[in-house]
């Protein structure tokens, strides 16, 4: 009943073999929930089990099912995965310019660029969620950090919501912008993807793309996706003005766009 051999895999973890953990180290335990377009019953449970088995999960347990009406069934499941990843090999694209403070950024601009820089921002397309871009740009800022409008060395223009890409480009030209900030919050049916892509195309068509820093952000956006779409950086939830400004100013210098 009792054995005292000390096998403690959680202490010296093999980070090349990482899998989920619930109760017994390496058990692969996972919680799932989803709906299937079949009526409730034992067959529905079996359908759910077969589905997760196809995902390579074993010991699938349907711990709950509920009739959603219209021949749909909701299930809650627990199951175990054999999947395993090598954590030591993980590379995440990250914004790598060091983060500076409000004060440092303004000093940096003065010293390295020697003039005020211009940043325009907006929530584009049909998206009207301004709280995110406001958090970055508005005077009063967010979570205790001033927004770009407060930065003495930054001319910040917040164009607001539902701004068309064409208008963005026109404004960038008019104001001779150093950087464009685009916010996208509505992502249903991936509506943000073509919208973000179109802006890159328009900027390229105007020969502007290389002349400014192009940044996007939003709760379902990340740096990786931004790079894929042809942006210089992408920022997700919890971003603060200095995160963005640090990147912009260092990138301007790095790219010789002073």
């Amino acid at each position: 009943m009792s054995e005292t051999k000390r096998y403690e895999p959680w202490k010296d973890r093999d980070m090349t073999k990482v899998r989920p953990y619930g109760d017994t180290f390496d058990d692969g335990m996972i919680q799932l929930s989803f709906s299937i377009p079949v009526p409730p019953g034992e067959e529905a449970a079996e359908a759910a089990r077969q589905l997760v088995t196809q995902m390579g999960l074993h010991e699938p347990a349907v711990v709950h099912q509920h009739d959603l009406g219209e021949d749909f069934t909701f299930v809650v499941m627990y199951a175990k995965t054999k999947a395993m990843i090598d954590y030591t090999k993980i590379k995440v694209a990250k914004v790598d310019s060091p983060r500076m403070s409000f004060y440092e950024i303004n000093e940096y601009i003065k010293e390295q660029i020697g003039r005020k820089i211009t940043i325009i921002g907006a929530c584009t397309g049909t998206d009207a969620h301004t709280v995110g871009i406001d958090a970055i740009m508005n005077m009063k800022g967010y979570n205790g950090e001033y927004g770009l409008e407060r930065y003495p060395m930054v001319e910040a223009y917040n164009l607001g919501a539902q701004v068309e890409n064409e208008e963005m480009v026109a404004k960038a030209i008019e104001l001779n912008a150093d950087a464009i900030l685009v916010s996208q919050v509505v992502t249903q049916k991936d509506v943000h993807i073509p919208n973000l892509a179109q802006l890159v195309e328009l900027l390229e068509a105007e020969g502007l793309r290389e002349k400014l820093i192009l940044i996007c952000g939003g709760p379902r956006l990340g740096h990786e996706l931004a790079l894929e779409l042809g942006y210089d950086a992408g920022f997700g939830p919890g971003t603060l003005a200095p995160d963005v400004a640090s990147f912009v100013v260092q990138e301007l210098v790095k790219r010789g766009l002073k």
């Binding site: 509920h66 959603l68 509505v186 249903q188």
Partner: protein
Amino acid sequence: MSPMSKLYLDPQLIDRARTAASDIADSLQSFILERTTVAVERTVLRLYGLDGVDADYVPLPNVVVDHLKEGGLLEHGAARYVLNAVLQKGLSIQEIGESVAAGTLNLCELPLASDDEIRQKGLELAHASLDLIRANRAKRDDYLSRLGEGPQPYLYVIVATGNIYEDVVQAKAAARQGADIIAVIRSTGQSLIDYVPYGATTEGFGGTYATQENFKVMREALDEVGEEVGRYIRLCNYCSGLCMPEIAAMGAIERLDVMLNDALYGILFRDINMQRTMVDQNFSRMINSFAGVIINTGEDNYLTTADAVEQAPSVLASQFINEQLALRSGLPEEQMGLGHAFEMSPELEDGFLLELSQAQMAREIFPRAPLKYMPPTKHMTGNIFKGHVQDTLFNMVGVMTNQGIQLLGMMTEAIHTPLIHDRHIAIEGAKYVFKNLRNFGEEIEFKRDGKIVARAQDVLTDAAGKLEEIRDIGMLEAISRGMFADVKRTMTGGKGLHGVFMRAEDYWNPFETLLRAELGLEAMAR
């Protein structure tokens, strides 16, 4: 013995606030009555039955109104010229619209029949339209008495697949899961287009276009499922944006039951020109009143951009103003779903006390209104488990304070528009809380010298002060100063101003005339 007011609110202070709001509404009302808009005029045509689109998919009401606008006649009211054509040409209004679209008829050039003749025809046809709406209303009453309805707070959920047919399947499932009200959320962008799309639609983002055909499709589906579940299922949509009164008309015709309907929302959150939307709102609310539609106002939204603790007084002030404006459109209190929300940070110590205070205060100040209570949204995160707890606290406050309409919070609020089971999980949670705490609100009293009572009194005091300040500077100026939701808008800024016209001396809107009579608005004067 339990006090009249659980919060020991001072009735005189409430009166003061209400009086200020009434004055604000009166002065707005004079402003409104001097103007009309393209949307109001299109609405008149829609109420006369004009429907369909031209070859370029432009809706005929737009075609005709633009035609009159170009002819410089709109300030007299579109009705006169269309009815004149009916008299002159012996065509139906639909046929007139089609002829204008085809370019075969120019309303501006037709000789005018006598005013009497026109007015007689106009009222006759308008009566027929109103009868249809009256019949819809009777049909709803009939359903309600035959099938009954869920107890209050009504469980309100949204569908938002973007495809009306897919919305139907999700809506029917929701009704079976226990929903009382189904709101079909609109696609991003619709509120800023100056026409109503046509036909059944299957592609929207973050929502489905509001079209008359979509209304019809969903209404049928809900009637069907309502019969099966033995409960009338209410249908909700949005009459806000640039087509406010048109959507009200469409809703009246298709028997919608609830409409989001608030000019302030459009001004602050869609940057719609304030003159335009105030005028539009007035007429839209008359239609909603007559159709027996419950309106939902948008004060809850203030708390998505501004802080819920700080902005509580401005929410209350706005509710007072919305109440007075609604009364001036003939809307009875029983149809005023004034909006408010549970939007304080979950990190707040004793935040629940403040939320409870706020909700109870709204309940007491607007005792007959079916208050629309919005769930936590701003402080929801990807943490669905914590989110479900936030929604549970919200549901508790809802049932403890007898809210009328409980918009159910979704644990996935910060992630996506609701999946088919997100609604189920929300409904199940709400039903459980509502039943398990059914009479809890009645069972408890608040300490007279406690935080809950003090908070409500503070908020009311501030709101009254704010209202008196607004009365002094005027509503439109107050908005320009950012007194609502921290957002500033100007008299001439925003979308849609080009669609506003000063009414000419002989301006005539037969539906306005009839509805004023129907709604007892002629008699109403403070």
